[in-house]
């Protein structure tokens, strides 16, 4: 890897470019075997493609109810536990929390008819049932992340008696805020035709949409910046992130179409017109303590999309916590690693 020293003239810069490219490529090759995941866990329940994991404790118990982490269907949940020094899960384990996580797996052609009711009233409901049975509890804490936060809101509104505390993280509630570029693009898409054409929607399609939000940066500049130099650890971190970004599961067709239509195009959650399994999802049913964590620099889920939750819920114990990070920074940034786990543990201890 070339050192950080800058060439003195552009002519020299040009002359050095091929060498820098070669050296950077060598580092990328060396990094291609980087490992992922930092915390030990056990599979405690499996159903279809889904696995429910229970993390092994690494510190004395904080004597709090277990926390079920509900991740999004898009992307993989190992972003929550990427590497030892960038792991929200590890930080929470260090604080003595008892953690479960739903890994939705990789849907395939057999999942094309799996819909949102299956995910929320089916899989999520049964996973929570496993946790409650294991701990002989009537209710516990649910922590929903991004789209998983939206699922958690729906679930908690439909089954409030099973959710003792609800934590949402970078969770969209209002899908049509003016600063939501992704939402603007989705409005004109014939989602039913898209799903009919694909059956299950490939992760590449979603990735294309995400990188298209900032194409000059995300399709080129971030790779060019590697030429500026850095040590192997930085390259390893880059490759881990790169893997996570593009390790995108396909989306079950029916669930994708419903999510795009009902949430993005019709904004039903916000309007109170969403129905799942024949029941209306009424956010006023959320009366349990609610911690809503959002990222102030989020370009995927703008802050306003998350903070729209407050006036909709019935809870009198509602706290919105904004961190000065981006969407991905919420999982891996230094600031988030320092501040977020403590904030969650502190909030839980007082309830």
């Amino acid at each position: 890897m070339p050192g950080p020293a800058e060439p003195s003239t552009p002519l020299q810069e040009l002359g050095e470019l091929p060498g820098r490219i070669a050296a950077t490529f060598q580092s990328l090759q060396a990094a291609s075997t980087v490992s992922f995941g930092a915390s030990e866990k056990d599979a405690v329940y499996r159903e279809d493609k889904l696995t429910l994991y229970h993390y092994r404790p690494i510190a004395a118990s904080a004597n709090l109810p277990p926390v079920l982490i509900v991740y999004a269907l898009v992307n993989r949940p190992y972003m929550m536990d990427l590497q030892p020094d960038r792991s929200l899960i590890r930080r929470l384990l260090e604080l003595g929390l008892d953690l479960y996580l739903i890994d939705w797996g990789y849907p395939d052609g057999a999942d094309r008819f799996t819909d949102l009711n299956d995910y929320i009233n089916g899989y999520l409901h049964r996973c929570l049932g496993v946790v409650l049975r294991e701990h002989r509890l009537e209710s516990t804490t649910v922590l929903g992340v991004c789209q998983g936060g939206t699922f958690s809101l729906c679930y908690a509104a439909l089954h409030p008696e099973r959710v003792r505390n609800l934590i949402t993280m970078v969770t969209p509630v209002d899908f049509q805020t003016s600063d939501n570029l992704l939402s603007k693009w989705v409005q004109g898409i014939d989602v039913e035709a898209l799903v009919a054409a694909h059956g299950i929607v490939p992760g590449e399609v979603l990735n294309a949409a995400y990188v298209s939000l900032m194409p000059f940066r995300l399709l080129q500049q971030k790779y060019v910046n590697l030429l500026d130099g850095g040590d192997q650890a930085q390259i390893d971190n880059f490759m881990r992130m790169e893997k996570w970004i593009f390790d995108s599961p396909a989306q079950a067709g029916a669930a994708f179409a419903q999510f795009a239509r009902w949430f993005f195009q019709e904004n039903r959650l916000l309007k109170g017109t969403l129905e799942l399994g024949g029941r209306r999802v009424d956010l006023r049913q959320l009366t349990q303590p609610l911690l809503n964590i959002y990222a102030k620099q989020d370009h995927l889920v703008p802050p306003a999309a998350s903070t729209a939750l407050e006036p909709l819920v019935g809870s009198r114990d509602y706290l919105a916590l904004g961190l000065d990070v981006g969407h991905i920074g919420m999982y891996v940034s230094g600031r988030s690693q320092r501040e977020l786990p403590q904030a969650i543990a502190y909030w839980l201890q007082r309830r």
């Binding site: 552009p10 490529f25 008819f113 603007k184």
Partner: protein
């Protein structure tokens, strides 16, 4: 800056050498991969179209070199222009010269962004006589992927021109609206629909390309405006990387506005919707073909999945 402006020959020679070095590196890497059993071949310029297993060293190398090529193209063009402008002694003239030159880069930059990235679908080729494929499909400016763009399989269906009972349908190219006749009229109509959808995709692609061309032009003007004060004060960017970063910043700013505009949103949605329709029509044709060989079809599998789903629900109901 001044010394650079007096060394245009040096710059051109250095640029050629850098390009040659990159080509040599790619060749060496390809040979190394070939020696280890990977299918390596070609030069960087051909890299985008080469096929290799995704995630392997070759695909990683191809993707990375492609980005570096793009960087070299953008940054060296901007730097050359800056160099030429620096030879103008009057500050106002210098900024104007730079701005005028930027306009000349629009086509070059737009074409750089029209190269599909790895994983983008190749140009469509239906194998239809008289059709010859629709150039540019999948080559969305710089992305190959608005929502719905990265559609695997759009790039042509093997053997589609040899469907049983069709014999390639000579003379179909352009025959969108000729009434279908004879024993194969149903198949003819299917092909006509495919042609119509292909044309719709091409039209949508052109609309979106136009949007992208406009964005690149506006981004270049924005870069000129941002750099004008520095050129006038004699403090231009000092490196290729610096001017490249300024370009990206300007381009993202312009794009962020344009991508929210109704024209862009509509053009992008039309591309996605047209491709969805085309893909479904392609699959219907494939299904007709597979049925004739008594092979399982998607519709058949869907039916089985639906039945399984209903059975599972019934079983769950019984248990509860």
């Amino acid at each position: 800056m001044t010394s650079e402006s007096n060394a245009t020959g040096d710059w051109s020679a250095a640029l050629q050498k850098a390009q040659a070095d990159m080509l040599r590196q790619w060749t060496e890497m390809s040979q190394a991969w070939a020696a280890t059993g990977s299918a390596g071949a070609g030069a960087p310029a051909a890299a985008a179209n080469a096929s290799a297993p995704e995630g392997g060293p070759e695909s990683l190398g191809r993707a990375f070199l492609q980005q570096c090529e793009g960087y070299l193209g953008v940054s060296s063009s901007l730097w050359e222009l800056l160099n030429r402008s620096a030879g103008t002694p009057d500050p106002e003239q210098r900024a104007r010269h730079f701005n005028d030159g930027l306009a000349g880069l629009q086509q070059q930059f737009a074409s750089l962004w029209a190269v599909p990235p790895p994983g983008a679908p190749p140009a469509m080729a239906f194998g239809m006589p008289g059709m010859g494929g629709l150039p540019g499909m999948g080559g969305m400016p710089g992305m190959g992927g608005m929502p719905g763009m990265g559609i695997p399989g759009v790039g042509g269906i093997p053997g589609m021109g040899m469907m049983p009972g069709m014999g390639g349908l000579p003379g179909m190219g352009g025959a969108f609206n000729i009434p279908a006749l004879g024993p194969t009229r149903e198949q003819q109509e299917s092909w006509q629909r495919l042609l119509q959808l292909g044309a719709r995709c091409a039209q949508a692609q052109m609309q979106l390309s136009g949007q992208w061309n406009d964005i690149i032009g506006r981004a270049l003007r924005e870069l000129g405006e941002r750099l004008a004060p520095r050129l006038k004060s004699g403090a231009p960017p000092g490196s290729m990387k610096e001017i490249y970063d300024l370009w990206v910043e300007a381009a993202e700013g312009v794009y962020a506005q344009a991508a929210r505009g109704s024209a862009f949103v509509q053009a992008q949605a039309e591309v996605t919707n047209a491709l969805s329709q085309l893909r479904s029509a392609q699959r219907e044709l494939v299904e007709e073909w597979t049925k004739q060989f008594d092979l399982p079809t998607r519709a058949e599998l869907n039916s089985v999945h639906q039945q399984l789903r209903e059975l599972k629900a019934a079983l769950a109901g019984t248990r509860s």
